[in-house]
């Protein structure tokens, strides 16, 4: 049984301009102890997908799915109360901004023991002892004295360690890390990533690493899911994906990596992620894709099994008949044909 099973998940936000579809037909399976990287440009729906799994989509957002299970529990029909027993215990999440993610009016110790007392039923003394253990596990020096510190007295890196300690407090089966290092100094970033990876290995917990940094994914993930405008574009093992990306969008993201760009110049993908009003009828990437054709502009590709994973593209890069198919479907740009 997979730890997480998501089928055809969509999340919509009603806005003044109409219905904003932040997540659109996402399907995903995650095994116990697996590390999944989720990448994509800003606004591609990475966070919202995982918030939906956590049950944290704010009102008036709507979540729909054909299937949404965690550890065999059906999250679509579960009661609010039962759900709260899972969140923070079996599935935990850490966020991008560690300092604003901690409550400024309560001490680190209070916020940490709160979780333990709620989910593990510990008394104050026991929870405090455990909190000290946890703080030292996440590499915080002299943890006893940190219990009485307020978040504003700690650095961003320290606060993220506190967040991690809070998240792993109840030995979750799954930890979702939403861009855990983006807000931190470069030197601290590596330390936090190491910490997360070590904890994951020790505890064999599932880990979802959301990032828009392909480099971070390469260092951490076993499997990668590439998202664009709320949809999964490509999903396969990290090794395969980096060796031979199959989706033009993945290829473009990889080309944007500093170490892959030529002459030290950072390649960027021209154009922007479609918004509420300019969502294309066909392939969502077609306005920016070098290989777009009449066909891909009009017909939305389905997410289908391809190579060792899944892809949402009419013309995967590794398809031997690719050039002929593009030619046949009337390419929109000349470079696509060559």
């Amino acid at each position: 049984m997979a730890l997480v099973e998501i089928e055809n998940l969509s999340v919509e936000f009603p806005t003044q301009g109409g219905i904003m579809r932040a997540v659109d037909g996402v399907s995903l399976k995650l095994e116990e102890g697996e590390v999944l990287g989720v990448v994509g440009e800003s606004g591609s729906g990475k966070s919202v997908t995982m918030l939906a799994l956590m049950g944290l989509i704010p009102f008036p957002g709507r979540v729909r799915a054909d299937k949404l299970t965690f550890n065999g529990r059906d999250l679509l029909t579960i009661s609010e109360k039962e759900r709260r027993k899972l969140t923070g215990k079996d599935v935990a999440m850490i966020f991008q901004e560690p300092t604003t993610s901690l409550n400024p009016s309560f001490t680190v110790g209070f916020q940490l023991t709160e979780t333990l007392r709620l989910h593990e039923g510990m008394d104050r003394k026991a929870a405090e002892r455990r909190a000290i253990e946890l703080l030292s596990q996440v590499g915080i020096p002299s943890p006893e004295s940190r219990l009485s510190a307020y978040p504003h007295q700690l650095s961003g890196g320290m606060n993220q360690r506190v967040m991690i300690a809070m998240a792993i407090a109840c030995n979750p089966k799954l930890l979702i890390a939403d861009e855990p290092t983006t807000a931190l100094d470069v030197t601290i970033q590596a330390q936090i990533l190491d910490l997360l990876m070590n904890l994951q290995k020790e505890r064999k917990m599932g880990l979802v690493m959301i990032t828009h940094n392909m480099g971070v994914v390469a260092d951490t993930a076993q499997r990668v899911m590439v998202m664009y405008a709320g949809q999964i574009m490509e999903e396969r093992s990290a090794a395969d994906l980096f060796a031979s990306p199959q989706h033009p969008y993945t290829a473009a993201l990889l080309a944007a990596l500093p170490e892959r760009s030529e002459g030290g110049r950072l390649a960027t993908i021209p154009g922007v992620v479609p918004g509420l009003y300019d969502r294309p009828k066909g392939c969502l990437f077609s306005p920016r894709c070098a290989y777009a054709t009449e066909h891909s502009r009009n017909v939305r590709p389905e997410l289908r099994p391809w190579a060792s994973g899944h892809i949402r593209c009419h013309y995967p890069l590794g398809d031997p008949n690719r050039n002929a198919a593009i030619h046949h479907d009337h390419p929109l740009k000349t470079e696509a044909a060559s």
Binding site: G88, A92, F95, T100, N103, S105, T115, Y150, H152, M163
Partner: protein, 336 residues
Amino acid sequence: MLRFIFTRVSLIIPTFIGITLLAFFLIRLVPGDPIETLAGERGIDPARHEQLRKEYGFDQPILVQYGIYLSRVLQGDLGKSMITQEPVLNEFSSLFPATIELALCAILFALIIGLPAGIIAAIRRNSIFDHGVMGVSLAGYSMPIFWWGLILILLFSVQFDLTPVSGRIDVLYYIEPITGFLLIDTLLSDEVDAFWSAVQHLILPTIVLGTVPLAVIARMTRSAMLEVLGEDYIRTAKAKGLSRFRIVALHALRNALIPVVTVIGLQIGVLFTGAILTETIFSWPGVGKWLIDAIFRRDYPVLQGGALLLGVVVMSVNLLVDLAYGLINPRIRHTR
């Protein structure tokens, strides 16, 4: 925190001097000769007039008058009422508990209704309840106190005969002042009927005086709550699996209270201004009514002393509120 307390407390001195200046000079801008007022309609002969002017020091240059005044104030001598010949300080301290009792009831009334109303309005944003609270509080905020008091008297006292029109307690009862707070003194002297009489007398003035703070607190609580509920740490609290009640009542409220406490502090000054009007409407025997009476009688010492004492009270309460603010806001507490 020590540094914070120190800077806050040291601000007291210039504020205090400012208050004495205002109390002294503003009153002298009021037209009319106090001695003539004192004499009444019968008039006074010029010789006696001159003698009284000397006695009260009105013949000295104004700056000298101020200097004398200030040095006496610093020795705790606020002068005597020109009408009753009682020391101003004594009159003030015998009347002040009545004002405090009313002001405390008003602010409690405002808090007990305003906080929950603001919180619920924020949680049920854009609901009928929310729009209702916002509409009513806007009306409450713009309500002229005099008019509002008279309307309530007409409705509840005159029309329905539910509450007394004026005063602090029924004339039947005489309660020896112990604390000066009638609600407490009646209970201490085991006079339950007198207690209920005091409660009934308090209802309307409390509502009248509490309406503006209530409106301000409800609106401020709502907007602070709305802001806080959108913060990252609330999302974290949800991700921990905490109950909705705990998230709102602990994690959100604790932070939302910080601006609310500030607003309450600012309301204290407004509250005493309102008390002056409210006491006049309800003939409430407190320092507000005493000051208004002093204005009509041109009782300079009472006006000066009363304004000064009220100013000092407002200043001290604001100081306390500031210190409370430091207590609930760790970011202030820890700045050196």
